[in-house]
């Protein structure tokens, strides 16, 4: 006798208990602390902050621990928390020109004011597994230090703009749109597009950026500059009426310099694609800058033929929390719809069957 599947509630509770046990793993191995995640898995923390759209290293570390290292799940946890937080207002735009630089490289000039600062990068490491790291307990040797140069480091794009070779961005004092409050509408403004890309999945943006390099909407990019460091966040409380510094955050900024042949109204010049990510996220910032530039195709009067230039395609599919939800929801029960489909296919086969038999008979004769 058939018994309907029952006991959803206890099954869910038991599944959660099992998950918690697996999360902890072998109790003989010391438990991970949030400080360890924050300090030693810092780039994972940065990625979760970027895609979770919430700049809080401690919370991101907690999310990573809770998600067993699944970074998209961690971003989801952080987003779900973020959405419950009250909003006090918008900060002043970050002045990345006054960033305390940890790393700054330009691919367009050999040397430039402020210099090339390699900083902590994987770029020139040889990717040889370092078995010394497998043995625990060693503290890394401190690198030699020079006294910090406090002088501001001018942006490469500004150097070009002064010469009239780089298109200036239109200044705007309006508070930018917020797609977590207002749903996307098309055409989307550039600030909203950038917000979407900044929250977007690194892998998705990477793939799109790569596609523009392989001919699907070429943007002829050069890395004008990548800079990573710490910037002050300023906020104007209404009761004060002037901006005060409320803290500092680490960000990575990428400005791509792209060739532009000019149009009827604009002379030939360079245009920029812009990328910004919380923490140290060069791959993300670069991919974002390339996709940003690709999305400007229509505005600049270029042909729009490639996926990376298609605003709806890019912006609707960049969010990994949305994407993973909708892809993974397919594992929820769909048997009612499947049943309807099943009966429909059976009926269509019945409709088709006599014709087939006629044909077989004709072939036999």
């Amino acid at each position: 006798m058939y018994v309907a599947v029952k006991g959803g509630e206890s099954a869910i509770a038991n599944a959660h208990a099992w998950l918690a046990e697996l999360r902890r793993g072998d109790a003989g191995v010391p438990e991970l602390s949030l400080a360890q995640i924050e300090e030693q898995l810092g780039l994972a923390v940065d990625r979760v902050m970027a895609e979770g759209s919430c700049c809080d290293r401690g919370l991101a570390a907690l999310a990573i621990k809770q998600a067993r290292g699944d970074l998209i799940e961690a971003a989801f946890l952080l987003r779900a928390y973020r959405t419950t937080l009250p909003r006090f207002g918008a900060t002043a735009p970050l002045d990345t020109g006054r960033m305390r630089i940890r790393r700054r490289v330009s691919a367009t000039y050999k040397d430039l004011p402020g210099g090339q600062v390699l900083g902590p990068t994987f770029d020139y490491t040889h990717r040889l597994l370092d078995f010394a790291l497998a043995a625990e307990g060693g503290a890394a040797d401190a690198p030699p230090q020079l006294p910090a140069d406090a002088a501001p480091v001018p942006r490469v794009t500004e150097l070009l703009a002064r010469e009239g070779l780089m298109q200036r961005e239109a200044a705007c004092e309006d508070e930018p749109g917020d797609l977590t409050r207002e749903p996307l509408a098309f055409p989307a403004s550039r600030p909203v597009r950038l917000q979407n890309l900044a929250r977007g999945d690194e892998g998705f943006l990477l793939g799109l950026a790569y596609s523009t390099q392989r001919g699907y909407g070429n943007t002829h990019p050069f890395v004008g500059e990548i800079r990573h460091g710490v910037v002050a966040v300023e906020f104007t409380p209404p009761e004060l009426g002037f901006p005060i510094e409320i803290g500092e955050i680490a960000v990575t900024e990428c400005q791509m310099v792209n060739q532009f042949k000019g149009s009827r109204t604009e002379p030939p010049q360079f245009t920029r694609g812009y990328g910004l990510a919380f923490g140290h996220g060069e791959r993300k910032a670069m991919a974002m800058a390339m996709v940003d530039r690709a999305l400007r195709a229509k505005e600049l009067g270029e042909d729009t033929t490639a996926p990376a230039q298609d605003e709806e395609f890019v912006l609707y599919h960049s969010d990994n929390v949305e994407a993973t939800g909708f892809v993974e929801h397919l594992k929820l029960p769909h048997y009612v719809d499947f049943q309807s489909e099943l009966e429909n296919v059976r009926a269509m086969r019945r409709d088709a069957a006599p014709a087939d038999e006629d044909e077989e008979r004709a072939a036999a004769e």
């Binding site: 599947v5 977590t180 909708f326 719809d337």
Partner: protein
């Protein structure tokens, strides 16, 4: 007892007000999709975040909530959503369709069609009925504005010409009040006729796509068809193995690997109450 640290029914009051405004707009323009600032919920997209937000913003402390998935109250996602609302709103929940004031559903309309005073909230994965024909939402918006639905009729016609019948078995497109083409959510086409002039308010929430739409009570809802090919809802041609109903929508349950199968009601409350009545009659 509700969860501490969260507002009644999880969402803050300003968000609820924003959603209620979207609902009011939706009711005023039956079948028209209203964009709304969907929030990120603590359940994943695809699990019913739109329906949950609609339910959360209409729920009052005296409401009685029923949650079903695939017609059943005991499927894991229905259990999980019901538990969520017990936790964050502390409302009474029920498995009885007749006792509920709000019914949140995924993929079914109860066999006992909701009555006046009840509200049925559908979880909607894809609110745009035209998306398979035209993926660009900027373009589908224009098509809705102009009631330019020829493409959909052509698709149905092609199905009939090639296959002898419409190949869509669920999420079968409907015209609401003769004006807007609407996705009924992935309910089986069998359930479509229940939407027509339903005495209850029907609300549709799509969280990921950030759209709300509605069918007010007693609004005409017509499944698209042709005069010579009228809409034919489909169900498995059997009677329920548990309650004997030959009217209800059935789930097919595979019982062994030798072709053994049985058919049982997908609506668990309907099936159980029929069995109760039969048992009482027998006693």
């Amino acid at each position: 007892m509700t969860e501490r640290g969260y507002n009644f029914a999880y969402l803050d009051e300003a968000t609820k007000r924003m959603i209620r405004r979207a609902i009011l707009k939706a009711v005023a323009i039956p079948g028209h999709q209203i964009p709304f600032g969907a929030r990120e919920m603590p359940l994943p997209y695809g699990w019913g975040t739109g329906g949950i937000q609609v339910t959360a913003s209409i729920l009052g402390p005296r409401d009685v909530l029923k949650v079903i998935d695939q017609g059943a109250d005991d499927t894991t996602n229905a259990v999980s959503i019901r538990r969520f609302f017990r936790r964050v709103a502390g409302v009474e929940t029920t498995e009885r369709t007749a006792e509920a004031t709000v019914i949140q559903t995924r993929h079914r309309i109860p066999e006992r069609v909701p009555v006046e005073g009840q509200i049925i909230v559908y979880q909607v994965p894809q609110p745009e009925p035209l998306y398979k024909l035209e993926p660009r939402r900027a373009e589908t918006r224009r098509m809705h504005a102009l009631a330019d639905y020829g493409l959909m009729h052509v698709r149905l016609y092609e199905d009939i010409a090639r296959l002898g019948r419409v190949a869509t078995a669920y999420d079968y497109p409907v015209m609401v009040d003769g004006r807007y083409l609407m996705a009924p959510s992935p309910i089986p086409a069998f359930d479509n006729p229940k939407m027509d002039r339903m005495p209850a308010l029907q609300l549709f929430g799509a969280g990921r796509e950030k759209r709300i739409y509605a069918v007010p009570p007693y609004t005409p809802v017509r499944s698209l068809d042709f005069e010579d090919h009228p809409f034919r809802p489909i169900r498995a041609p059997h009677a329920c193995a548990l309650c004997g109903s030959s009217e209800s929508y059935l789930d097919e349950v595979v019982t062994d690997d030798k072709g053994g199968r049985m058919f049982v009601c997908s609506d668990t409350d309907y099936c159980a109450s029929r069995r109760d009545v039969a048992q009482e009659a027998a006693e």
